[in-house]
């Protein structure tokens, strides 16, 4: 297991009248090299949980393990942890500050004290991974990139730490279809080709379902369901009660099945739906 939590609890503003217990005993395991999707309504504690994985928040109770070791919170330990586990916040491009794309992506490697040559190499590699390695980009202000390119550049600045795990909080918000497709293709490549453990919080299921190995459903600070897509989406009642959506293809097949048509509802993509309906049509034609 790469990331594991044991009875993890977290309370904001403890000991004050504003105390809110956001994590209420989270137990989870995330395998090395896996692609995990964390689902849950807003306010369920997803972002709070993610911030425990790279030590931005310290548990109020319980433990977090990364790579088999319980997390320590000294400056040195945190520095090491953050090279292992990279976190991409919501709207990460709002944190841009540097004058050029190169300086933006070089910020973390420089802070880790790498030599200029090593920094150069890290930046090139990270930008190559996200497809922004055209020399013309390097001297460009990150603020002058398109929305999709900005998101990719923000991810590159985390990849420049060469993390073993990449965690992304709502990475597609505000991106158009083409940019979303590019982003998920990147995550798939990082996971399958580079062996990076990927953990994504997203509400947009249609693209992520075919990529993911493992789903966690979080409600009110607890993991209430986990498993494969088939296991999770076979319980639409639970998902609906939690304010979560089904993949659009699954919803469509459920509406067809509810109208009396003999279709499976364990279908998560339009291609699967197409095959299911065509097979039905052939069976009817043969009668």
């Amino acid at each position: 297991m790469f990331i594991r939590t044991e009875d993890l609890t977290y309370t904001y503003f403890p000991g004050t009248p504003f105390a809110v217990e956001v994590l209420r005993g989270v137990n989870l395991s995330i395998a090395r090299g896996s692609f995990t999707v964390l689902l849950g309504p807003s306010g369920s504690g997803k972002s709070t949980l993610l911030q425990h994985f790279n030590g931005l928040l310290q548990p109020s109770g319980g433990r977090v393990y990364v790579d088999g070791e319980p997390l320590g919170y000294s400056r040195r330990e945190l520095l090491q942890l953050r090279q292992k586990v990279g976190l991409v916040f919501q709207e990460p491009e709002s944190q841009f500050f540097a004058e050029t794309l190169f300086d933006e992506v070089a910020f973390a490697p420089r802070n880790f004290g790498l030599s200029p040559a090593a920094v150069d190499k890290r930046v090139q590699r990270a930008l190559q991974l996200v497809g922004l390695d055209d020399a013309a980009f390097l001297a460009k202000s990150p603020f002058r990139l398109s929305a999709g390119q900005q998101r990719l550049a923000a991810i590159a600045s985390v990849l420049a730490m060469q993390p073993q795990a990449l965690i992304l909080d709502e990475p597609t918000a505000g991106l158009d279809q083409a940019a979303q497709d590019r982003l998920f293709a990147l995550l798939q490549e990082l996971n399958r080709e580079q062996g990076i453990t990927v953990i994504v919080v997203t509400h947009r299921l249609e693209q992520v379902v075919p990529l993911a190995h493992h789903f966690l459903v979080m409600v009110e600070g607890r993991i209430i369901m986990e498993g494969s897509a088939a296991e999770i989406f076979s319980r639409p009642d639970v998902l609906e009660r939690c304010g979560l959506a089904l993949p659009p293809a699954t919803r469509l097949m459920q509406e067809l099945a509810a109208a009396g048509l003999p279709f499976s509802t364990a279908i998560f993509s339009l291609e699967e739906a197409r095959a299911e309906i065509n097979a039905w049509r052939e069976r009817r034609a043969q009668r």
Binding site: G40, P41, S42, G43, D176, A179, I277
Partner: protein, 283 residues
């Protein structure tokens, strides 16, 4: 002819400071939106959707051409307070437009700026909160609300200022499915019951399908407009622009390619359900 509320005539806009070679953000837009209409605006990132919204309520002024709200040009500075009061903007991230320490104070912000008498402000705020079903949150601090609730607070603030028209820039992009559903339901209620005109920028084809009319922007130009059944069923156009349609439209297109006898214009799930059920009865 219905009353025209918003109009763009030969509208072009170039962001200041851009070198001469960069293309204008919008070019040659001619467009009319009727009072009470619900218009969806789709297109890739950078196609000019947000720029067009900002031109509609005079946050930006045209480089060439003109924009009219209720017959008044945004070029005349004397019209701007009227236009801004009638034509409110809702952004993607409600955190960017919430300023009050409580929901009530936030919703009252624009009204206080308009120097309305306090009893009038109180009346309008409680009306707006009631309309959006968030009266129980009046005393809550906005930062402790969910995303969907915050977006309703932002809508209440704009509506309390007596907006007849809402300009919505991806209002559900930051919300979870429940928050998204709640905001979409609210928008439809405002349009149908209150006759509020909506111009809704979205990346979600399922949202565009709710509108009366869909406009497609690409490279700063209006490349297609029509009812959802026409625009969202035009898969070749959408694909050429890197856009997708609704799940029902995409699936109907794939099935038609496979020789399934389906008519054009399927956009909503219920339409595909009807077609497949009628096929099952016939064959």
């Amino acid at each position: 002819m219905p009353e025209i509320l918003l109009e763009a005539r030969k509208l072009s806009f170039t962001y200041p400071g851009e070198d001469g070679e960069s293309p204008p953000a919008l070019e040659g837009i001619d467009l009319k939106v009727a009072a009470g209409e619900y218009v969806a605006l789709i297109g890739p990132n950078g196609s000019g959707k947000s720029t067009l919204l900002k031109l509609f309520n005079a946050l930006l002024l045209p480089t060439a051409g003109e924009v009219f709200f209720d017959g008044r040009s945004t070029a005349d500075a004397r019209n701007i307070p009227y236009i801004r009061a009638c034509c409110g903007m809702i952004f993607q991230n409600p955190d960017n437009q919430i300023v009050g320490a409580t929901v009530e104070e936030d919703v009252a912000f624009a009204l206080e700026n308009q120097a309305l008498p306090p009893p009038e402000i109180r009346r309008r705020v409680s009306e707006a909160l009631e309309l959006l079903g968030i009266s129980h949150l009046a005393a809550s601090p906005p930062h402790l609300l969910s995303g969907g609730e915050k977006q309703k607070v932002a809508l209440a603030g704009v509506l309390a200022a007596a907006s007849r028209c809402l300009l919505l820039d991806e209002p559900t992009a930051m919300l979870d499915p429940a928050g998204q559903a709640a905001v979409l339901e609210t928008l439809q209620m405002l349009n149908r019951q209150r006759g509020i005109t909506l111009v809704h920028v979205t990346h979600f084809p399922e949202e565009a399908a709710l509108a009366h009319r869909v406009l497609v922007l690409h490279g700063g130009r209006l490349v297609k407009e029509g009812p959802p059944a026409e625009v969202l069923a035009d898969l070749p156009l959408l694909r050429a622009l890197g856009l997708k349609s609704t799940a029902a439209a995409e699936l109907a297109w794939l099935l038609r390619e496979d020789g399934f006898p389906l008519p054009r214009g399927i956009v909503h799930n219920r339409e595909l359900v009807e077609q497949l059920c009628s096929y099952a009865r016939r064959i």
